[in-house]
């Protein structure tokens, strides 16, 4: 099964930390607390966690796409 694609717009991040809680293997933080992407092509097994991360991000900085770059949200 193909992997997912995750895009983050780090310039929008406000440091809420919600994404890191929802999917800690995909989203991390730099030294100032802004989001960083640890895994841009995570396994499909993580889909629920990624949708949760998308859902909790207040600034809509996260996109979850399939391998044809179509949004799954």
């Amino acid at each position: 099964m193909s992997n997912l694609e995750v895009v983050v717009h780090a310039d929008r991040c406000m440091g809420s930390g919600g994404c890191r809680k929802a999917a800690p293997t995909v989203f991390g933080a730099d030294s100032e607390g802004w989001v960083s992407l640890l895994d841009s092509m995570p396994s499909r097994d993580l889909l629920d966690d990624l949708l949760e991360a998308y859902d909790v991000c207040p600034v809509a900085a996260i996109e979850v796409l399939n391998d044809r770059w179509e949004p799954l949200t």
Partner: protein, 419 residues
């Protein structure tokens, strides 16, 4: 509508236009049942002649509008009340030139540039450092009151706290606080559509005094940095690698005042009222202050300071069953979304233990309230301090009056309490 058969039909559906007449007609004290009604008619999206916009009442649709800043533009200064001015008056023009730069009313790339400097000042960590400042300002204001005293908190404490907090955090010197308070209210009133003619002229001139004062403060911090927010903003680098110029920065600092003052005042008034209506919640919070942060979220959900926001449609778009043309204005109804039973179980119940995190009180997307961590901190400090000093705080002998003339911000006009 068919002719009535003469039987009473209490459940008969009204037209959205009739509900809007009630909602925006300046007489309804309790708007919540009207939102409930509008949300369940058709697709929950209805054009209001009075607002000249499509009012969007369901959570999923309101959230989607926030997510998609390309289709739903915030570049709307000209159509907000704050944009009303006389272009032939040079002072009015000077006001509009500065006031139109609020990044709340811009789209990327301008928005991105300014937000990139602002957001660093409002991370949860940055705000934690201000907690002692906020607590100090709150305590000093509460020192003026005694247990058992009767007072209308709306013009007093609820209005004083946010001004004192913003002044302290910005680094406005104490001796200027009372002037600063007066200027802040003057500037905030330029956002009130009812302030017209001479009153608007006066409000604009007061705003310019505020702007000139802030410009001086910004220049002073450039020359001599201090431990305050203005210094942080003066030193912050934008994503373009430069720094904000004075006029650009001044507009954003002024935004802090309008966006942070009345909203927080309303959070205090609305929240206290909810605690009066739900005495078991008040007792629980007085006994255990660790419950307060979650309770503040629930206050923000069920009675948010702002009820409605606005966006301009940049290209034809379909929401629900509506095709909305380019150039039209949509008005996501935050409070209705926050009580949408599709998202919140038993939505009209105030439940301090529920997970309210999906509420849209700070809205959603790139314009998510940049000051949210500050507002949350203020809410926590204020309710903690009030309940500590006045655990039996209760409604005063005069009735509280809800504001009816402002469709956007429906806080309490008066909220008498006995401390």
């Amino acid at each position: 509508m068919t002719a009535s058969t003469g039987e009473r039909a209490p459940q008969a559906q009204r037209e959205p236009s009739e509900i809007f007449d009630d909602l925006f007609g300046g007489v309804v004290m309790d708007p919540f049942p009207l939102y409930d009604e509008l949300r369940e008619i058709g697709d929950g999206i209805h054009f209001s002649e009075l607002l000249q916009s499509y009012v969007v009442t369901r959570h999923a649709d309101a959230r989607r509008i926030g997510s998609d800043h390309r289709t739903f533009s915030s570049d709307i200064f000209a159509i907000t009340p704050a944009g009303i001015h006389d272009p032939n008056d040079p002072e009015h023009l000077r006001f509009a030139t500065i006031a139109s730069r609020l990044f709340m009313l811009t789209d990327p790339p301008v928005h991105t540039r300014i937000r990139s400097t602002f957001r660093a000042a409002f991370t949860p960590d940055a705000v934690k450092r201000w907690e002692p400042t906020i607590a100090q300002a709150t305590k000093e204001l509460l020192d003026d009151y005694q247990v058992g005293q009767e007072v209308d908190i709306m013009p007093r404490f609820a209005a004083d706290v946010p001004v004192a907090v913003v002044a302290a955090v910005l680094g406005v010197p104490r001796e200027a606080w009372s002037k600063f308070r007066e200027w802040s209210f003057g500037y905030a009133s330029t956002f009130d559509p009812l302030v017209q003619g001479e009153r608007r002229d006066a409000a604009i001139r007061t705003s310019l005094e505020l702007f000139d004062y802030l410009a001086e403060l910004i220049d002073a911090r450039r020359a001599e940095p201090q431990e305050d927010l203005i210094t942080t903003l003066v030193q912050a680098e934008t994503i373009d690698g430069d720094r904000m110029e004075t006029a650009e920065m001044l507009a954003q600092v002024a935004l802090l005042l309008v966006a942070g003052n009345e909203t927080t005042t309303n959070l205090i008034g609305n929240g206290l009222t909810l605690l009066f209506d739900n005495p078991e919640a008040r007792a629980a919070l007085a006994a255990d202050s660790s419950l307060i942060p979650r309770a503040v979220e629930e206050m923000l959900r069920i009675d948010p300071p702002l009820h409605i926001t606005m966006r301009r449609v940049t290209q034809e778009v379909t929401i629900g069953d509506h095709t909305i043309p380019e150039g039209a204005v949509v008005a996501p109804c935050i409070v209705s979304a926050n009580r949408d039973p599709r998202v919140f179980e038993d939505p009209n119940a105030f439940d301090i233990h529920r997970d309210s995190s999906k509420h849209l009180a700070f809205y959603h997307g790139i314009h998510f309230c940049v000051g949210a961590p500050l507002a949350r901190m203020e809410g926590l400090v204020v309710f903690e301090e009030i309940l500590k000093r006045f655990p039996d705080i209760r409604p005063g002998s005069e009735p509280a009056i809800r504001r009816t003339l402002n469709a956007v911000s429906r806080g309490w006009e008066t909220r008498p309490v006995q401390l």
